[in-house]
Symmetry: C2
Subunit: 393 residues, 2 copies
């Protein structure tokens, strides 16, 4: 029954991790800036932005969504045209669905895309929902290589008699934080006349990445993951007049509504928080500031590795804040404590550290983004203290 008393459980719920040190890669670059918090409250009501809309969200002049979408964002992403979307996954789907439909209109069926084997599940689901098969690059030893893309494209052509509609590279991948050579992957794919999409969910907003500089056709980013915005919100950019016209084609039923966007996307506080955090996002993605983040990440990795109880997977020296460790010490403890593999989560909770999934001990990923030296030292010390407590060091 929809009894008022029982429905109160949905209200005034505290987020107990809110004042924790959060090392979840999903969260470190999503925390709101002060300006975004202000935007959230000011624009929180329902469809607030629509008070100012003449029919196309991206053309709203006041608040300056037009300037953001048509000037700042394209320059930031290195694209000819950009839009604000409901997320990175929705952006990938929009590109794939558009390409699939354009192909279908030309009578081409059973199409596919090529994707790096470290692609996020949301990329796979996006292809699946667009009715596209996927050919993955081979499982890499340590890095996705340009020749892996050539191989996958060749395999697709051989198997299906036609090239893929798209090649997608995850930059960086969401498990190891490895950065592939975008420019060469684009070059290789373009040799087959295959357009390239960069999934920048963990790069756009964290580090410098520019689609034009590497020659990419599409780039997507995540507002909630990496641009200090309230989700769901993401960004989508495209290069080339023809590709943009196809992706942002207007409805035959309504001349101002873009089909792939279902007419409108982020129509409330999320876009306003994305804009409000943008100056800070631009600042932190300047090469010199990103360099500082990488240095902090490398120091943190070194400290952990020096203990002899942690091994970094992936590129080393590491070039990103997202990192994946093997931690045999934690695993050993899980084998001997009463709480088993949940001990680590509990121990970290006691120290107000959040971000390693409950139950993980042997392998886990974390992110150091934006934490700064003091908090990173605290995390490293906490790891060491836990190992000491259980006599692992």
């Amino acid at each position: 029954m929809l009894e008022h008393n029982s429905l109160q459980m949905f209200q005034y719920i505290k987020r107990d991790t809110r004042d924790f040190v959060n090392i979840d890669p999903l969260q470190t670059a999503g925390a709101l800036t002060d300006a975004a918090k202000d935007a959230l409250l000011e624009w929180g009501d329902g469809y607030s932005v629509c008070d100012y809309c003449g029919g196309s969200l991206d053309l709203v002049k006041k608040p300056p969504i037009y300037d953001f979408v048509h000037k700042s964002l394209p320059e930031f992403l290195g694209v000819d045209e950009a839009r604000v979307m409901n997320g990175a996954r929705e952006s990938k789907f929009a590109v794939m669905q558009s390409l699939a439909m354009a192909a279908a209109e030309k009578g081409s069926k059973d199409n596919y895309v090529v994707m790096d084997s470290w692609a996020h599940y949301s990329s796979k689901v996006a292809a699946e929902n667009a009715g596209l098969d996927i050919i993955f690059t081979k499982k890499p030893e340590s890095e996705i290589l340009p020749e892996d893309f050539a191989e996958a494209i060749e395999a697709g052509i051989k198997e299906r008699g036609k090239k893929p509609l798209l090649a997608q590279i995850t930059y960086p991948d969401g498990s190891y934080g490895n950065l592939a050579d975008l420019k060469k992957i684009v070059q290789v794919s373009h040799e087959y006349e295959v357009p390239v999409l960069i999934n920048g969910a963990y790069s756009v907003g964290r580090m410098p990445v520019n689609a034009k500089e590497v020659g990419a056709d599409y780039i997507v980013g995540s507002g909630h993951k990496s641009m200090s915005a309230c989700g769901p919100v993401g960004v989508l950019g495209v290069n080339g007049e023809e590709a943009a016209a196809q992706l942002f084609r207007k409805s035959k039923y309504n001349k101002v509504k873009e089909v792939a966007l279902l007419g409108c996307t982020s129509r409330g506080a999320p876009i306003m928080t994305l804009m409000a955090s943008f100056p800070e996002v631009v600042r932190r993605t300047q090469p010199e500031n990103w360099e500082k983040e990488v240095t902090l990440a490398q120091s943190f990795i070194k400290r952990l590795e020096d203990s002899g109880k942690f091994k970094l997977f992936g590129q080393n020296p590491h070039k990103h804040d997202l990192m994946f460790f093997e931690a045999p010490g934690f695993f050993n403890i899980s084998e001997k404590t009463k709480r088993g593999r949940y001990f680590l989560y509990d121990e970290l909770k006691e120290k107000k550290i959040h971000g390693i999934k409950p139950g993980l001990t042997k392998n886990f990923k974390i992110s150091t983004f934006g934490l700064g030296k003091e908090k990173l030292d605290y995390v490293a010390e906490s790891f060491e203290e836990i190992l000491k407590k259980y006599d692992e060091i």
Copy 2:
């Protein structure tokens, strides 16, 4: 250039309509409750809810998303299964894309849906993005009738040799606030074995509406439009095991991710605001409370019509807070003032009333939802004062 000084234009932007009396149908039932404002700040950071997620948003137990999605929401909508989506349009698209893909898998191409001729543009764009054609019911004189659906379905079968994948009814339509006879429309459509979707963007959260009671297969609602939630967020419900299994089918790449949802939807503050406002939404949609809204709407209409300067389009006596007027008095003024057709927007702005689009005078839609007698009297008085000022009454 991405200069810090110029980027500051994206920050600390005031929403000048925030303390206005807002009569825009998009806005009246989207304003946040106090509980939702609390949720917004508590859960504003990026992907906040994901701190608690084991892989499926709808299964998160704490905060009680599971209870909301799998218990309260299905009961509220009158469905077997429900999900929280990015909006009503995204929900309609999910249904249509799923049906289109299931048909395609069976080798059926060139499919179509039937829709009432007052369907919102987002319904049309959803069909278009799913590669589906649309056959509309005939333009009604005053109401969409069950036989209009029969006629459209018959026309489709005659033209294409097969029934439509879906019949969609907008309840109420977004222009006139007319309420069609859902039960009969469902009956008629089911006689052809065509499933029915209710687009309840202006009903779910405002008034009683229950898919099971009228026998509907799908229902969608809008969190930001009618459920006092921060957008983008919406709800999707489905009846029938087979339909639910098809709509919420899992990815072949990841056994917990639902394809039509791209794996995950509203993954931050919007879902928490939706939940926080839900007790109030349940309260206000109780028949006796909705009846009060309708009475207020009817009194407002009567007062305007009594002035002789306003004519209501659509059902009269009116049964919804969304209403469409012809206002010859305002039109006359627009013909003679310097500001032309923008005079009304300016005059209302001075009186801190927002919601009639700039430039409209002769015909416009507004909503009385949740304003209460005092504010509605103020709006009616303001209309009368403006007419008097320009010697129209």
